[in-house]
């Protein structure tokens, strides 16, 4: 069961011709798939398309009605290989995953698929995790599209354009026998908008028909000599076919005054940002109508030479606005124009930053530069609001740098002001333009707020235990993996040296396999990464290569970081999937003998002792610790309604939470440094003699027990208490409480006399 339920929203997927669909981008994509007559959909979760997978899972009954098979794939490679169904049969299929993490994993099947080509439309929907909020390396899917000859669509970020792009992608794929990649940027995935729907379509050719009438064509299999033929086909047949289709269907768009002798070439996904920049300069109206000639590439790859040259032939200069690096399109634009000796000046990364997200401010700056050079009357700075104009100004940027030497750190949190060079605009501003406003950036001590383990997360105590072991026997090289557990690299834990990819935690420590030391390495892997590939790339590899190191598998019952989807070892009963497959069995199955399963990660002392044992035992060979406790985010979502129900039915319900006694807390905050729970915070010291803030547990506490365990395992202060609040207490509960309170009350009154006399 995923973190967010779309059960209600998916009903929108049933709407028919002419009705208006309102909702999020990913939901619109799903609707577009249903309108396109797909036979199968597969994918692997990950931001920003996790919700797409969740939507699909929640829409399973709707898909069943239409005869569509949906699969949560074991990995992106599995998902990509699924498209093999479209090679020999006229079946439309779609897969989805995040880029570039997913395209990396899927690159093997994607290459094979693209080489042999497809009969039915094959669509790869990638969630491009680039720019603000991204959690992965900053690379482009564009490179994958180019190297394998997969057509790449980057539609304008509005729902009608996105839906049309999905539908046209299938047609394009079929017209050119080539898989098509549709790129969805983060913001577009989560965008709320509208489009006019069409009826859902049942696939004309079904999976059953294919299975009952198998067909094969050896010329589609990547094996010489066919592979050489494929290369030729790709370039000489499929490419021209794609170009024809794209031109005929006008997938790319032109706006503005075609007679203009300057123009902008933009990726479809950049459209709204560019229009906003033009609006700010008074060059476009609210609906985006503009005189500025625009060539909008909804198809980012391949480049349509004819369209480009047609656009450029009347132009003195064009500005290519292409986000990401390297500037693949810009290079192609140059090549295309020079091949026919067309002398239009092409600007791009010379006027735009080479790296980083192209925000409106960035684009606006580039437009001003471009217009200053070619159409100064359009660079109307005076139309910009004061605040926006300030963002264009070359100004010193104050970067507070914490000075690292101990002496200065100790004196005050010293900050130094550095002046970062900011390139001035190339053209002098005419005198009539009002002076540029300088707004100083306030030098506020704004702390970063990186993501962290949730309140009550069962992974936190694992790393607390690791810190405790580190105190005892020194530090170890820690190899991390992808997942929530990667937050251990941040304060307060500060553990972990590298992360090489999903499921590759143990693989990332493979080199540290030396008989010259008894010190072991620790690798981390989540249950998600384990089933994704870690079982073979990590565990199998360690067994095979006689590794002597330690792996901690964090088994929280879900693919938690991507939104709580079920996986093979999930504890949930899932009607449409097989779950409850123990990781320990799999690990033992590939030959690990030293395996310990800890079924309660909150038991820090046990966790610590097991870790110490694994790191110091004389037993040779790989050592695996499986640390199991349910993801708290998902657990709370699961049990909260249950608790409410039981309470309302009059059953005895025990709620637990922790607290800190302010009068015994001395404000050292060791507990916070060892836990880092969001619900463990600080507040003013109520003691008039003390100054340091005291620890406090805020309402969000779920009573996981870590605070108490830490207090015990690390011998902290006695300030923590665990409150048990018994709702609908039984008669016995009430009786014992009453008896105790009579005696306690009597003694407390005696104490109170003494207290009052000093109060």
């Amino acid at each position: 069961m995923a973190e967010r339920s779309f059960k209600k929203e998916v009903q929108k997927l049933r709407i028919g011709e002419g009705e208006v669909f309102a909702g999020e981008g990913i939901l619109a994509v799903t609707k577009a798939l249903l309108q396109s007559g797909v036979s199968y959909v597969a994918g692997y979760q990950g931001a920003p398309i996790s919700h797409l997978m969740d939507v699909l899972a929640d829409a399973s009954d709707i898909m069943e009605e239409l005869g569509i098979h949906f699969e949560s794939s074991a990995s992106e490679a599995t998902a990509a290989a699924t498209l093999a169904a479209s090679v020999n049969y006229p079946l439309r299929g779609a897969i989805t995953f995040k880029a570039t993490a997913g395209t990396n994993v899927a690159s093997d099947p994607l290459s094979n698929l693209a080489s042999g080509g497809v009969t039915g439309g094959a669509l790869i929907i990638v969630g491009e995790d680039y720019g603000e909020g991204s959690s992965i390396m900053q690379e482009r899917s564009h490179a994958f599209a180019m190297k394998s000859q997969i057509w790449l669509l980057d539609p304008r970020p509005n729902l009608p354009s996105i839906v049309r792009a999905v539908e046209k992608s299938f047609e394009l794929s079929e017209a050119s026998n080539t898989p098509v990649m549709l790129q969805m940027r983060i913001r577009a995935c989560h965008m709320h908008g509208h489009f006019v729907a069409r009826d859902n379509v049942r696939p004309s050719f079904t999976l059953a028909q294919a299975m009952e009438n198998p067909s094969r064509d050896i010329s589609r299999i990547v094996l010489p000599p066919a592979s050489f033929v494929h290369e030729d086909e790709k370039i000489n047949k499929r490419w021209p076919a794609a170009v024809d289709f794209i031109r005929r269907e006008q997938l790319n768009e032109f706006f503005g005054d075609e007679s203009g002798d300057y123009g902008l070439i933009i990726q479809g996904g950049m459209y709204n940002t560019v229009i906003r920049a033009l609006q700010l300069l008074g060059l476009a109206d609210v609906e985006g109508n503009t005189d500025v000639p625009l060539y909008v590439m909804n198809v980012a790859y391949p480049l349509i030479d004819d369209e480009l040259r047609g656009f450029c032939q009347t132009k003195q200069a064009v500005l290519m606005i292409e986000e990401g690096q390297p500037e693949f399109i810009e290079q192609e634009v140059h090549t295309s124009l020079r091949r026919v000796d067309m002398q239009t000046r092409v600007h791009g990364k010379d006027m735009l930053p080479r790296v980083g997200e192209y925000t409106t401010t960035v684009v606006l700056k580039a437009l001003v530069k471009f217009f200053d050079r070619y159409r100064p009357e359009l660079a109307a700075r005076q139309l910009l609001s004061e605040g926006v104009r300030a963002t264009l100004a070359p100004r010193p940027v104050t970067i507070p740098v914490r000075v690292a030497t101990a002496a200065e750190l100790a004196s005050t949190a010293a900050t130094k002001t550095l002046t970062a060079p900011v390139a001035a605009l190339p053209i002098a501003v005419p005198a009539s333009v009002p002076a540029i406003v300088e707004t100083p950036v306030p030098a506020l001590d704004v702390h970063p707020r990186p993501p962290s383990f949730c309140t009550g997360c069962p992974e936190r105590p694992i790393f607390t235990a690791m810190k405790l072991v580190e105190r005892e026997i020194g530090s170890h090289h820690v190899s991390c993996d992808i997942g929530c557990h990667l937050f251990s690299i941040l304060p307060p834990f500060n553990l972990g040296a590298t992360t090489m990819g999903y499921g590759l935690g143990w693989a990332g420590a493979s080199a540290f396999n030396s008989s010259e030391t008894t010190r072991r390495t620790i690798s981390i892997m989540g249950d998600g990464g384990f089933w994704h590939n870690g079982l073979t790339s990590g565990v199998g590899n360690a067994v095979f290569n006689k590794n002597d190191n330690v792996l901690v598998i964090i088994d929280n019952g879900y693919s938690a970081a991507t939104g709580g989807q079920d996986i093979l070892s999930s504890k949930a009963e899932n009607a449409s999937r097989v779950t409850n497959m123990p990781i320990e069995k799999a690990v033992r199955g590939v030959g690990v003998e030293w395996v310990r399963t800890i079924t309660n990660t909150y038991e820090i002392s046990k966790m610590r002792d097991t870790l110490r044992d694994a790191l110091t035992t004389t037993v040779r060979g790989p050592k695996v610790i499986i640390a199991q406790s349910e993801c708290m985010l998902n657990k709370q979502r699961r049990i909260k309604p249950l608790m409410r129900k039981r309470t309302s039915e009059g059953h005895r319900v025990v709620r637990e939470r922790f607290g800190v006694d302010s009068d015994t807390c001395t404000g050292d905050h060791s507990c916070i440094r060892l836990s880092g729970c969001p619900s463990l915070s600080i507040k003013d010291n109520p003691d008039p003699l003390r100054r340091d803030p005291v620890a406090t547990v805020i309402d969000s506490c779920v009573g996981c027990g870590v605070c108490g365990e830490v207090a015990h395992a690390a011998v902290l202060c006695p300030s923590f208490y665990r409150a048990q609040i018994i709702g609908n207490p039984t008669r016995l509960d009430k009786l014992t409480a009453r008896v105790a309170s009579v005696v306690i009350g009597f003694l407390q009154r005696r104490l109170a006399i003494r207290e009052l006399s000093y109060a």
Binding site: E132, G133, S134, I186, A188, H190, M191, F255, E258, N272, Q279, L280, G282, V286, N289, D291, T360, S385, G387, A390, T391, A406, A410, T439, P442, D445, V446, H447, P451, S452, C454, P491, P492, D661, T664, D668, R673, G676, S681, I682, P688, L689, D692, H712, A714, V715, F720, Y721, R722, A723, I725, I726, G727, A737, A740, V743, A752, E755, Y758, A759
Partner: protein
């Protein structure tokens, strides 16, 4: 071969001169942390606009926001359903806030507000800023070994300077009082500012349409609405007055002594100290406290200024030191009726529910020996069978249920060991250290008043229990050992402060060691600790 003639490109739309519209989309950026309902707030605004027939769009980059990170939700809508010709407008809306072009910024927390200001989203020519001043402390602030909190004042000042209109207050408290979430209170404030072209009723209808927790949301909405309509008041500088007003007959004599013998500026701290120590041990112990401070008072009169800082600070720290934390004290505090009531309130237990309080104790052999009379304590700490047995018995922490008879009685007995305290091992040790410390202060007060003040402040290092206390004591002793090098020198004062602050930087003592290395003082410390 390449074609030399190119297809005519087809321009999709007839060229339209940019419309001379004065109406522009309204942009609203919401800076929130996971779980605060930033998404719900964005949805309400979209719903509100769409119900007026206005085209609206919202986006976010949630990423890992739900894992305590931050995120920006951005809503834009065009406040016109159709133009003069009845043509319904299809605006191109932005997917991200543009610094300098944001009409409304809503921040759910003080530091997030600071982030918005720093990113340039708040500008004085157009932005209405609605911010909650409550704090969700950053990890850096929380994990500091002392007080690592940032000062909220510059944040408020910067925001006031940056915004056209600035509405702020503790919306988290408003929400809590209404039994709702902060997003509802902020939505109310948004309505209260009148920055959007909708009536209050329309805002409330959006909440009703969403249909989740309607009543509590509306209550929080109302509180937020009212706050926005009031003039902003600085709610962040809550002054803590020492709650030492009530006096009892037994303390009157001491209070009279304080009034008669000590400067009035020190009265607040001294009264608090006297009460604390009387509560901790007995009235005689409080008298001892005043007696010990007499010489400091005299020195301060001679060398100090009217604020009597040395006396005040020494009095503050001496009271804390004399009431050092031990098992007796902890047991005493845990079993009080007032404490039971406090917990009851804190965990929000209802009258028909039964509350159990479970304490986490880990008394180790050291602490047990500390509580015992000197001879017995020393015997227990001597290596041998008894020591080992007790060590094994105390290797695990214990959970004691104070609300049960057995648990309460256990702590009651421990608390009543108070009368033994002056004979205990720990008492002797702590008081020996205390007297040493006071002697140092007295020795330097005449020649170097500022240094004496710094020495007094060093007591701040000694706090907590178990390892934390041992670590603090170690650092304290280290600085004490360095006093001969620091005394009489001009830079001694700043050095002792640097040492103290370095000691509070990390548990491993790395900053302190680094500082000493910087000064080439590492050998001296080795000698000092050997001593």
């Amino acid at each position: 071969m390449h074609e030399t003639k190119f297809t005519e490109v087809s321009f999709a739309k007839p060229v339209v001169k940019p419309a001379d519209t004065k109406i522009r989309p309204i942009g609203i950026a919401i800076l929130a942390m996971g779980g605060e309902g930033g998404g719900v707030l964005a949805d309400w605004i979209v719903d509100l606009a769409e119900h007026e027939g206005y085209p609206a769009q919202s986006t976010s980059v949630p990423g890992v926001a739900q894992r305590t990170g931050t995120t920006v939700y951005y809503v834009e809508f065009f406040p016109q359903a159709a133009d003069a010709h009845g043509h319904s407008v299809v605006p191109v809306l932005s997917l991200m806030p543009v610094p300098g072009d944001v009409d409304i910024v809503i921040a759910s927390e003080l530091m997030e507000m600071g982030r918005a200001v720093q990113r340039g989203l708040v500008t004085s020519d157009k932005t209405t800023l609605i911010a909650s001043t409550n704090r969700v402390y950053s990890m850096t602030e929380k994990s500091s070994m002392g007080d690592g909190r940032v000062d909220p004042k510059p944040f408020i000042e910067a925001a006031r300077a940056a915004a056209t209109r600035f509405v702020f207050g503790d919306f988290a408290v408003l929400a809590e009082k209404s039994g709702s979430v902060i997003s509802a209170a902020l939505f109310g404030a948004l309505a209260g500012t009148g920055a959007l072209p909708f009536s209050r009723e329309k805002f409330e209808l959006a909440i009703r349409r969403a249909g989740v927790g309607v009543d509590s949301s509306l209550k929080a909405f109302n509180a937020g609405f009212e706050l926005a309509q009031k003039d902003p008041v600085d709610g962040t500088a809550a002054i803590r007055t020492a709650a030492v007003e009530r006096t009892q007959s037994l303390l009157k004599a001491l209070d009279a002594r304080i009034a008669a013998e000590f400067p009035s500026v020190a009265a607040t701290v001294l009264k608090a100290g006297v009460r604390r120590l009387a509560d901790y041990q007995n009235l005689g112990y409080a008298e001892l406290y005043l007696k010990r401070l007499a010489s400091i008072r005299d020195l301060d009169r001679r060398y100090g200024e009217s604020d009597a800082r040395l006396l005040v600070e020494t009095a503050r720290y001496l009271a804390l030191w004399m009431s050092y934390e031990d098992t007796v004290r902890v047991a005493d505090l845990k079993i009080r009726a007032t404490r039971f009531q406090r917990v009851n309130k804190e965990v929000k237990a209802k009258s028909d529910q039964v509350l159990h309080i479970n304490e986490y104790f880990h008394p180790r052999i050291d602490e047990i020996a500390d509580t015992l009379p000197v001879w017995l304590g020393k015997f227990l700490m001597r290596p041998g069978r008894v020591h080992n047995l007790l060590e094994r018995m105390t290797s695990k922490g214990r959970v004691v249920r104070t609300t049960s008879l057995s648990g309460f009685l256990l702590l009651y007995v421990v608390a009543s060991l108070r009368s033994w305290r002056p004979k205990s091992l720990r008492y002797q040790r702590e008081h020996a250290e205390m007297n040493n410390w006071l002697a140092h202060i007295e020795r330097h007060a005449g020649s170097q008043y500022a240094l004496a003040l710094e020495i007094a402040e060093c007591q701040r290092l000694v706090k907590g229990y178990g390892d934390t206390h041992a670590r603090g004591m170690r650092n304290f002793k280290l600085i004490e050992g360095l006093l001969p090098r620091l005394a009489g020198k001009e830079e001694g004062v700043s050095r002792i402060r640097q040492l103290r602050e370095a000691a509070l930087k990390d548990e491993e003592g790395m900053q302190l060691a680094a500082l000493l290395r910087d000064w080439n003082w590492s050998n001296a410390t080795a000698a000092a600790s050997a001593h």
